[in-house]
């Protein structure tokens, strides 16, 4: 037993030491990165103090030495052990070029005579891959083996190697690291506190990840707000950027124009140059930012009279003797002055960000506020070791009383032992001062605190307290409508001038970002599906649908998804959500949702519903769905005495609401009260929701075999329009002969060009011959049209209505067919024979410029393979233009 205990103790010591040394290696790498970026890194000291003793243990090199001590200016490698024949180049430059240079020098100086192995230790972080051509060539020439994966190393490789050593060696490495850091930390009184705060903040972020409120891999950095936060959160580090911008600020060009206009030049402010010094701590930084603001504002007001946007300043008056020159040069001067002041404004904003105490982020739901702040804490604050606390505001609901933020912070095992808020803030201020970074308290989603009125006062008091400390800052996020109604008083407090308000978190996403977002979602949810263009477009243009789709397809294996049927997606998603409830609640979820929508129908209010009509068990299900934030969300009731203390809800996603409404109609009402359904549809006639509700009612009625309801829908006066608009939602399993007839009728009708075109486009994209609705219907329809019929039909579906619309449909055909031919020539023979037939049909009607060239290209294709079926089919077309065109193609091909 005693032996077992000893073994366990040894194992635990080993694990403890391993964890400790791994974490210290990470800290070392982090500190090197920060110092290196700031240009304050002393590679020699780090190599001597840390790496020689550590590497000699890790790589079993008892005689590892700094080679510069062996011979002055030793080439290629910094450290070497001739006994083990191992050499190591220590560098902060992770580039392929640096590795290539090391290997080149190694070879040139024939160091292979002394060493069998060369490692490149990247002190910052090595690249993901090293595959550049030059490096590969250099490796090929090297007389010793060098594999980038094994011989280019960073702290993570050291940690991995450490894990493979015996306990004694691990202990030795741990002691080296502890001793070196102890020397370094000797002057730091609050190092331990900093580490604790970082641990707690990270733990909160991990929790947000677990609950999927924060999905790091899908965070796409599209916002300039992140850059703004950098200056706010780490002004001492990013101040260098302000300095750099200041150093580029020159009045030369403006003064040159003023000289041409015979005006007096503007004096350079002497302060600008002297202000560009590097503050070494937060107190000096505050002074520097303050005097810079003053100097830049003075300069700005000097230039303002000449600028196009002079504000309240009076327009400058030229000196009398220069009037003619001034008139000539006035516009260039004003334009240049405007540009200069814009640059000044940019710099002033950065300075302002560094000085402000509170960063307020407001925005509509779904803009990604939580993802944004979690990403900040995880990827900026943690990496810079910015002392911070992350408070998901919804967790404050678990605390009562006036001091709930203090109570929340105090309620963790690392909490400092202080008695009150000011004790805590004093400590934060000290930690900030010591580390040269502000202490940042992030409160995410204050709209999620249910006690609005009480918390509004509390957060104001809390921010007022923070504003009294030099180096504590806060980041607050809130949904904009809640902010406007409940927290707007924050902007009229004694600290309001210290708030930097960001109202638009996300700028428009580019197409590239959308692609990356889909990739990131698929990666996160481990989805191996391949999307067709239609499916991909669907998801790219609807981020909520993307999220829902990924949840239901989590872990999906490789298959092709040509189209996404929203109705199926919603149904599967709801089934999945119900499955997440405890067994005894599962059966209640859908009825509660049905009750929500039935209340909405009753009140004819679809955007905000009071929860007062729900009992406590229903309310608890609603709360769960709100906390998930995908199906339901909390809303503000109109402020009045009658609604005081009430909560309203709405559906996060309008189309999901319409689906649930339809589901309620089909599954609850259809059998017992078809008349009621009729009156509901009539009631919704003028409302925006009708489109969606009708769509899903019809689809679900068909799916569930509700014949009466299907008939009711099909006899509605606007059914034809709905059918055309929603045909994409009728999944292949639901399609039938009646659909096919309906589609044929629309194509043949002389009715709405919109409908004809929509159906033609729909059929064009359906290439699966076993489905009822597919491209064959379109091809058969065209083959049955005579020349006039073809002209009329093609005008309808191809006209782009541009200025020369009379013939633009022919040009459009020419363009489409040319594009098709390019692909067909590249991937010959074309696999999709239906598409080939369609292209041959329409190509006969192309404009004269493309008709002949395309015909020749078709001829070349037809000459290469047997397309007898297409030839026979087109020979039977009713349009002589199609028949003749095809005949000519095959005649020449033969």
């Amino acid at each position: 037993m005693r032996q077992l205990d000893q073994g366990f103790e040894l194992f635990m010591n080993r694990e403890d030491n391993l964890a400790k040394s791994t974490s210290l290696l990470a800290r070392l790498a982090h500190e090197i990165k920060v110092k290196n970026a700031a240009g304050l890194f002393d590679i020699n000291r780090i190599a001597e103090d840390f790496f020689v003793p550590i590497l000699s243990i890790l790589y079993d090199c008892p005689e590892l030495k700094n080679q510069n001590a062996v011979a002055y200016n030793f080439p290629a490698v910094d450290l070497g052990c001739e006994a083990a024949k191992v050499s190591i180049q220590v560098t902060s430059d992770a580039s392929s070029a640096k590795v290539e240079k090391t290997l080149r020098l190694f070879e040139e100086h024939k160091l292979n005579d002394r060493f069998d192995t060369v490692y490149v230790l990247v002190l910052t972080e090595k690249q993901g891959t090293y595959s550049s051509r030059k490096l590969k060539e250099q490796i090929a020439e090297l007389p010793i083996a060098f594999e980038p994966d094994n011989h280019i190393i960073d702290y993570r490789d050291l940690a991995a190697r450490l894990g493979a050593l015996d306990s004694e060696k691990i202990k030795a490495v741990t002691e080296i690291l502890i001793n070196e850091f102890a020397k370094q930390d000797a002057s730091l009184a609050f190092r331990k506190e900093l580490e604790n705060f970082l641990t707690v903040a990270q733990a909160k972020i991990e929790f947000e990840k677990k609950s999927k409120k924060y999905i790091p891999s899908i965070f796409i950095e599209t916002s300039s707000a992140k850059e703004q936060v950098r200056f706010f959160a780490h002004p001492l580090f990013f101040y260098r950027k302000i300095r750099e911008k200041l150093s580029k600020l020159k009045l030369t060009e403006l003064n040159e124009l003023l000289r041409l206009a015979k005006q007096n030049p503007i004096d350079e402010l002497p302060d600008l140059a002297t202000l560009s010094s590097d503050p070494t701590n937060l107190d000096k930084l505050a002074e520097a930012l303050s005097s810079q603001t003053e100097a830049l504002q003075a300069l700005r007001s000097k230039i303002a009279p000449m600028s196009m946007d002079r504000g309240n300043a009076e327009r400058y008056e030229p000196t009398e003797d220069a009037d003619a020159y001034s008139r000539i040069w006035r516009h260039p001067v004003e334009s240049r002055a405007y540009g200069f002041n814009r640059r000044l404004d940019d710099i002033l904003e950065l300075i302002d960000l560094g000085r402000q105490k509170i960063l307020l982020l407001t925005g509509m739901a779904g803009q990604g506020k939580t993802n944004f702040v979690c990403d900040l804490v995880e990827n900026m604050f943690r990496k810079f070791q910015i002392p911070s606390i992350f408070i998901p505001a919804r967790e404050l609901n678990g605390y009562q009383g006036q001091a709930r933020i203090f109570d929340f912070i105090a309620n963790n095992r690392y909490a400092p032992s202080v008695q009150n808020l000011h004790g805590l803030l004093n400590l934060f201020d000290e930690v900030a001062r010591e580390n040269g970074m502000p202490f940042i308290i992030v409160v995410d989603g204050i709209n999620e605190v249910s006690d609005f009125s009480g918390f509004s006062q509390q957060i104001n008091d809390f921010l007022s307290a923070i504003a009294q400390y030099d180096h504590i800052k806060a980041i607050i996020t809130c949904r904009s409508e809640f902010f406007d109604q409940r927290y707007a008083s924050m902007l009229q407090q004694d600290f309001s001038d210290q708030i930097f308000h960001v109202e638009n978190l996300r700028s428009e996403m580019s197409e590239r970002h959308k692609d990356r977002l889909i990739e990131a979602y698929f990666d996160y949810f481990k989805i191996a599906l391949t999307l067709g263009k239609e499916a991909s477009d669907f998801l790219r243009n609807d981020l909520l649908l993307l999220r829902i789709f990924c949840e239901i397809e989590e872990g999906a294996e490789q298959r092709f998804v040509p189209t996404i049927y929203k109705g199926d997606v919603f149904e599967r998603f709801l089934i999945r959500k119900v499955g997440e409830f405890e067994d005894h609640l599962k059966a209640q979820v859908v009825p509660v949702l049905h009750k929500v929508v039935s209340e909405m129908i009753r009140l004819e209010s679809f955007s905000s519903l009071s929860t007062s009509a729900f009992d406590s068990s229903e309310a608890s299900i609603i709360e769960r769905l709100i906390s998930d934030d995908i199906i339901l969300r909390s809303e503000l009731p109109e402020a009045s005495l009658a609604t005081a203390g009430q909560q309203n809800i709405s559906f996060t996603y309008d189309e999901l609401r319409d689906f649930i409404l339809a589901h309620y109609i089909v599954t609850d009402l259809a059998d017992k009260a078809v008349d009621e359904v009729s009156s509901i549809l009539a009631k919704l006639a003028d409302l925006q929701v009708r489109e969606g509700v009708f769509r899903y009612t019809y689809i679900l009625a068909r799916k569930h075999g509700k014949v009466d309801l299907v008939q009711l829908c099909e006899t509605q006066p606007d059914f034809a329009r709905h059918f055309v608009n929603n045909i994409e939602l009728i999944s292949p399993e639901m399609q039938n002969d009646a659909d096919r007839d309906r589609v044929r009728d629309i194509l043949s009708s002389q009715g709405s060009p919109h409908d004809v075109r929509a159906i033609a486009v729909f059929l064009f994209h359906r290439r699966v011959p076993t489905e009822f609705l597919n491209i064959d219907i379109l091809i058969n329809h065209i083959n049955a049209l005579d020349d006039d019929g073809c002209r009329q039909f093609f005008t309808t579906i191809f006209a782009t209505r541009s200025w020369n619309w009379q013939n633009d449909w022919r040009r459009e055909i020419g363009r489409i067919v040319s594009g098709y031919l390019e692909r067909a020539e590249e991937h010959f023979p074309p696999k999709d024979k239906a598409l080939l037939t369609f292209m041959l049909q329409i190509s006969a009607y192309a404009d004269w410029e493309s008709l002949e060239p395309n015909r020749n290209r078709f001829t070349s294709l037809m000459a290469k393979a047997d397309f007898q079926a297409q030839r026979d089919y087109l020979a039977n077309a009713c349009s002589s233009v199609i028949v003749d065109n095809a005949a000519e193609i095959w005649a020449f091909a033969a």
Partner: protein, 126 residues
């Protein structure tokens, strides 16, 4: 602060930008009217652009770790190793009129060729 920086052009080069070499290679007289246009082109490509490699090393390496992650994460730009290891990567946020490819007389291709030639000259010298 400017909204999200739209990158119009990415130039990865090992040539150390120098305005007089640039004009010389393009056979532009430094005092002539053409110099006005091509100085603007030089400015948008090299002076006013974002020197991504330097910015990464000085400000963003702590957060992003590698240049590749920085370019991808911050700008959505994906580059191969050969381009990443060039001396400089310039991200141009505007293009001067001489480089506007919408005009028939755009000098874009000529300027790009000039940069490639200057880079080759530079490499052959080193």
């Amino acid at each position: 602060m400017r909204s999200w920086e739209k990158i119009e052009l990415v130039i990865a080069t090992s040539w150390q930008p120098n305005e007089s070499d640039f004009l010389r290679k393009l056979k532009i007289e430094p005092d002539g009217i053409g110099a006005l246009f091509f100085r603007d082109a030089f400015a948008c490509l090299f002076s006013d652009s974002i020197n991504a490699k330097r910015e990464f090393e000085q400000y963003y390496s702590v957060e992003y770790g590698t240049l590749k992650r920085y370019l991808d994460g911050r700008y959505g730009i994906v580059m191969g190793d050969d381009d990443l290891e060039k001396e400089s990567i310039f991200l141009c946020t505007w293009l001067s009129s001489a480089l506007d490819r919408h005009y028939d007389d755009s000098q874009f291709e000529n300027v790009m060729k000039c940069i490639r030639d200057l880079e080759s000259e530079n490499e052959s010298q080193t």
